[in-house]
């Protein structure tokens, strides 16, 4: 279990990293925290000819708040997100989600940019980006691009990033003080990739949703911002309304089969999650009884 031989360069600046990517393009892979790339290389599932190590680019690491925008550098590690007071104050959904990302050893190395660029459909952070209405900042030979989260994820391990582009940061709108959130995933063991998960951000006023963004993950080839959330906004949520939203959700899902679950099971679990999420956000335990498929 040794990686194939590869060439390696440690980038000394973002500009340098972009030069290397321009030169080596499709042959190259960016090494950030290495928590997905290195196992894949050691298993020889991937054999990139060139590794661009951006690990030393301190300029890409850290969380800042300016006005109502929260900016997270691409190299900010999961462990940093977990500890950051800015995240806790302005995007607590992300803090809750990161606690489900693998295990401490992996969270100490893994980065938010790495996770988003990897675009594993079963991972937590891409769905959070949808729920939080994030903008992904990429820089390439032709300058900087701002990509809306719901346009960034293109399929299993596929994103809108070009081979010559580097993910630099994500920007999140600071969540209003009365905003609430919900995060849960079903995984066989804590830290495993989810069978189905949900990252939700909501505004609840007078017992109704003024806004509701539902970011499902592991329900298809990419994270899903559920349109069916619309059925729950500005209405008095009754079991009947919820049931309708649930069947609308069903139509949006295109779950895959793997060793943990059939598509039918994923559909079922996504609906259980919707029910539990709505019940929790509205503090309405009555909505959670009698879940059925």
């Amino acid at each position: 279990m040794k990686a194939s031989a590869f060439d390696y360069a440690r980038a000394t600046s973002v500009a340098h990293a972009l030069e290397l990517l321009t030169a080596h393009g499709e042959r190259a892979k960016v090494l950030a925290g290495g928590q997905s790339l290195l196992p894949a290389m050691n298993l020889r599932l991937m054999a990139p000819e060139f590794i661009v190590d951006i690990g030393e680019l301190a300029e890409l690491r850290g969380v800042t708040v300016k006005g109502d925008v929260l900016t997270i550098g691409a190299l900010t590690r999961h462990a940093d997100l977990l500890k950051s007071p800015e995240i806790a104050a302005h995007a607590p959904l992300l803090r809750d989600a990161v606690a489900h990302v693998a295990h401490p050893a992996i969270r100490n190395r893994g980065t938010i940019g790495g996770s988003l660029a990897q675009a594993d459909p079963a991972s937590e952070l891409p769905a959070c980006m949808l729920a939080l209405d994030a903008t992904i900042i990429a820089r390439g030979p032709r300058g900087e691009r701002r990509i809306a989260a719901d346009e960034f994820f293109a399929g299993i391990y596929e994103t809108a990033l070009a081979p010559q582009e580097l993910l630099i940061a994500v920007e999140l709108p600071v969540q209003p003080k009365d905003s609430t959130h919900y995060f849960h995933e079903f995984a066989r063991r804590h830290g495993d990739y989810a069978i189905v998960g949900l990252a939700a951000q909501a505004l609840v006023r007078d017992g109704r949703f003024a806004d509701l963004r539902l970011g499902f993950f592991a329900v298809g080839d990419r994270p899903l911002l559920a349109r069916s959330a619309g059925e729950l906004i500005d209405v008095a949520v009754t079991p009947a309304v919820l049931a309708e939203a649930s069947s609308a959700l069903d139509e949006e899902l295109s779950p895959l089969e793997d060793q943990q679950a059939t598509p039918a099971m994923r559909r079922h679990l996504a609906k259980v999650l919707l029910m539990r999420c709505v019940s929790s956000l509205l503090s309405r335990p009555d909505l959670c009884t009698g879940v059925s498929a």
Binding site: M1, K2, R44, R189, H190, I195, T262, A293
Partner: protein, 797 residues
Amino acid sequence: MTSTSANPETLSALDRPNSYIGKTVPRPNLDRLMQGRGLYVSDIELPRMVHVVFVRSPHAHAKIIGIDASAAKQMPGVIAIVSGGELAAVITPWVGVLSHLKGMKSAPQNAIAIDRVCWQGEAVAAVVANSRAQGEDAAELVSVDYQELDAVTDMRTALDPTTAVIHASLGDNLAFERNHDAGTVDQALAESDEVIEAEFIFGRHTGVTLEPRAVVADWNAAEARLTIYQGSQAPHMVQNIAALHLGLKESQVRVVCKDVGGSFGIKVHIYADEMAAYALSKLLRRPVKFVADRVESFNTDIHARDHRCKGKIGVKRDGTITAFEIDDLTGIGPYSMYPRTSAIEANQVVNLVGGPYVTRNYRARARVVFQNKNVMCQYRAVGHPIACSVTEGLVDLAAMKIGMDPIEIRRRNLIADDAYPCASPSGLRFEQLSHHAALAKLVRMMDYDALRAEQSALRARNIHRGIGIASFIEVTNPSAAFYGVGGAKISSQDGVAVRLDAQGSVICQTSITEQGQGSESLTAQIVGSVLGVSMDRVRVILGDTDNTPYGGGTWASRGAGIGGEAALQATKVLRKNILDVAAAILQSTAGELDIVNNVVVTVVDGAPRIELSELARIVYFRPDTLPPGIQPELMATRHFVPREYPFAFTNGVQASWLDVDIDTGFVKLLKHWVVEDCGTIINPQLVDEQIRGGVVQGLGAALFEKCVYDERGQLTNANMADYLVPMSGEMPDIDVGHVVSPTLESELGAKGAGEAGTAGAAAAVTNAVNDALKPFGAIITEIPLTPQIILTALGRI
């Protein structure tokens, strides 16, 4: 802990002052391991050492048409590329059968496949290179031309006439069949008020040792001697087999087992790739290292379980169990493992089903079939989890049917604690078990009635919890009845040599081995206690065929019971010899003297007479001052094997308390209890942790672990992301209690404790899940109990 001494007025060697027996003392090897100063096979670097990487078959069953290694041979660092045919010049094939398993058959297996591969992962060629990485690079360029053959993958159809026969010379795919019929089963079932049937399905899983299998083989052509460094549980067995197949005398083979990172039965077998490493060293006349990587481990470490067992139980309305009947089927891969065979697990299932219960009516059939999957063999608690899950599952189904509490039906049917010695319906002889004492203790520990009340209260709130109980028996301290009688050169006796060194410390050489269970500690505790020296003065040497007495090693829960007794007896002799010398020096008699805290003292008043260090100085450097005719022997050796009983059976009972989320099918383990009876407890912490570790392995089987094969015989989850081992986060607290019924076969009285945890854990969990699902009428008899299976049983998906 409840303990009764058979003869309280006589103090045994174990009850001496300052005894370490029954005390939790730190393991002597702890600092070394905790400071990273252990020596595992991977750590061993020898001059001129090379690494072997195996090219492995991507097909489950295929003919090898040709191997082209020309491009690979040009790669940097490559020393040699060797095919199975070429290696056959130095090593002979083997057949994994035992003569006491009547009718058992298997085909000759080669170190590297010749002409044909029989499972995905079987080695086809060896690439020997200066480094593992160079070897892997070159291995990618070895081009093998295969012609795919029909793969036999489903054990249920392996014996069908339309299914391909894997080894034509055997005539069919049946490796072994055993039938057993005791009592009057048909009559008993006919007279039962209820007869319940179920099919129990067990997933294939494996041991997943932290340290993979590893070997460094060093053929010294000048000495004509092969040194094998290997993480094995049975060094003398490896010595015998390596010598046999390499055409050497046993005296030409030395096997050294330094630290071993977990074994669980995985490392007690002879693997083809390890044999290939020995042979390559002989062929290339230099040290060869093989360290399995994780993918290789999944594809080649023995798998276990993979049974489908139909069971039947008869019960009367008063709870009397009238009969058990089973029909077990298991698939073992294309070859029976060598030399212990792959039939032992099914054989154990037949032996153990119904074992805790009174009924004499028992019929069983077990069939063991070949298939084109990785080899299967004995893994921790061989056969026990199958037998226990089938038995205890049937007992619970019977209780459910007649509306009786699971504890009550067991109370009415478990063999009475005063009924021993007696025998099981399969003919196993029990010396002394304690099912009822164990069950009573378990009920107290878990506060059974309160738990039932809590369960009932929570059900009203749509929270569904279950209680599962599983009584079990456990095979430990095996005599020659296990393997020796079948012709395998696997020793069932063990030996220990103890000697006093020139400064009054003790060196102890034992033939049992250490893989983390505490062999070194228990040996030092026994030697220190019996001799009267402090443990820090006892140095234990194990795992080296040149430097230990001959013996079986550590497996089948035999280390403490057999190796421990040998240590006790050897130390008693040394003690007597020391006291004889002391008596001569002190002009006293041996009977008036004792050794306490490293000093020879007077028995009556404990007055110190001579330090052991001073005695040793006189013996070794001034023997001229001793009276004439005294020849001190400060070294003693004793061997031990149980002779009265083929196995020292132990018993116990487990309970699980868990929560089933009926919307998601997820199971949350809340608490687990074990009460077991391993006889004399040498180190309570080691026993308890061994029980807990065993339970965790059983819980892994119950909920998580499964080698998933597709219909073409491809293992599809050979990595740590997809093969789910139990992790601490999902594990419940495990409370352990003991009942102590020492075996009278040895002075030590210790039985084994290694299998108990694994034996009953899955049965307790399955019973608890079914208990939780009772209001929904769902019954599941398949493990692992995945959310998919539970949701399906509940009709939710």
